[in-house]
Amino acid sequence: MSLSTFFQQCLTGISLGGAYALIAIGYTLVYGILRLINFAHGDIFMMAGYFMIFAMASFPWFISIPLVLFITVVLGVSIERIAYRPLRSAPRMSVMISAIGVSYLLQNLATYLFTALPKGYPELPVLKKIYQIGGLSASFVTFLTPVLTLIIVYALMVLINKTKIGMAMRAVSKDYDTASLMGIKINRIITFTFAIGSLLAAVGSVLYFTDRMTVFPFSGSLPGLKCFVAAVFGGIGSIPGAVIGGFILGLGETALVATGYSTFSDAFTFVLLIAILLIKPTGLFGEKTTDKV
């Protein structure tokens, strides 16, 4: 493999990793607060892809993108409202099963509404424009994804560490009951968390699908699981962890595809998961938890 091909592949990997990182943050935020693997997150991401197709059919891209972000946030928040909030005091397994149920429902709904056939993702001329830098050539979206990811992550870190609502989020994730005794409105914080998660999923979906070109009802399930793995790898609840996990996953997968082991590229994710769970079960930056009897 020549050096320029190598860098080309690295660029692809970093770009894929950026999209993964954005989705992984959604998982990590929700898990940090509700201790719930939001199985529906990948499907929210898929629905955002479909929303974009329909928005682009009638609006220019600069209206479509904010519109899609907004609709996706509404979807994410209403899922929390309908499917998770009634189960707040239920055992964790019930909530997880409910999440699997929502994921199943969204996939079936998408199959019903948009048919199982892959639909072409609209081309955004701005994002698709090819740029040449040195020996590398890639579309604008490939360069944009990692940069945008880092900007968003920085903004999010500021939000969580410096603002009042960020402080409330940290309090809720540390101790649910005490936080509510301190006068924090738990439900409002959870809604806010789901809104951020869905917003990032929508951004990730625009970046991811522009590269992939098609959307189908199951196109969210595998990326969803992978991003959850990325979140676990980085240490669930930690945003920098999720980002690093996302990039490692994207690079590793691209490397496997480039070397001709593409059938194992999906399995790679899970090998990574099992390895990290065995070596450091709390992930790279995870906090250690102890069981109380």
């Binding site: 693997i37 499917a83 409910s98 199982a116 059938t263 194992f264 009897v293």
Partner: protein, 367 residues
Amino acid sequence: MKKKAISKNKLYSLIALLFVIGILGMLQANSAQYSYQISILERSAIYAVVAVSMNLLTGFTGLFSLGQAGFMAIGAYTVAILTIPADTRASVYYVDGIAPAIANLQCPFWLALILAGLFSAAIAAIIGIPVLRLKSDYLAIATLGFSEIIRAVISAPQLNKITNGSYGLKNIPAFPNLFVAFGLCGLCILLMVLLINSSYGRAFKALREDEVAAQAMGLNLFRYKELAFVISSFFTGVGGGLLAIYMRSIDSKTFSINLTYDILLIVVLGGIGSVTGSVIGAFLVTAGREWLRFFDNPLTIGGIDIPLFRSGFRMVIFSILLMAVVLFYRRGIMGSNEFSWEGLGRLIRSIPNKLKRKSKTQKGDNA
């Protein structure tokens, strides 16, 4: 008095069993006419085996594992490789040819099923050592991961000569008759029920209720978790083998995560921790998919097309029903209770009372 009640129940059970055998015999005699119903019933019975084995893990031992599809895949491929008639193998492995070691390896299907179970149990034993150290959702996601790895390995082009990679395997001999299919499923479930009622079963339940307390009582946590995981995987593997015989042609896509979700929904609907619940759930879910089929066909009432009815609507209704169960009826059909004739009697006797109470409250509201 007590003794009499037991013998009465045995009599009821015997009558019910004979009734079922009678129906099966009737279906078998007219198998050409009822092939659609037979195929639904067989699929239900096979799903019941896998659902009970999942319940053994999730409901009775408290280990939430999502690896069912992977172990089913191992079982299905083992059975397929061991039972495809040797003379048709060349046409099945038309792409890359067959590995010489397995070219003439053929055995009767019952032996293949046992081997399928043993093989998947052996894999489970290896996987269990690292994975069972994890708890709740981490365990779920790790088993799910293993299931995906198993699927990726099966469909890898490097294994084309054994698993036929992504082309799948076909020409698997079907069940000789209906009784074999149902007998095998019944036997598997019976064995699991016996296990649950044994001292091992009680140890599993102790683990489920409180790990620390169970450990304090002298239970070796890891040993019992591993045992539950291996036994459950054995029956999941057998279930997968049965599914291969039922479907007659398999490929790795059949055993995706969605298969695990289907089984999970059966377990949830039937009631986590109830064997009879899982069996009822399996039949209801599998048959329900067929009953709801009319939603997929265009519906015209009085010359007006109802626009909602078209392909795929059935699965939407189905998933909404399941969400309703999860949200509003969390215990499922049976909760953690088992079917008993006394329970059925109580239920029937309680219906008039409930109706009376309802009408009374309504009267109260009116006044």
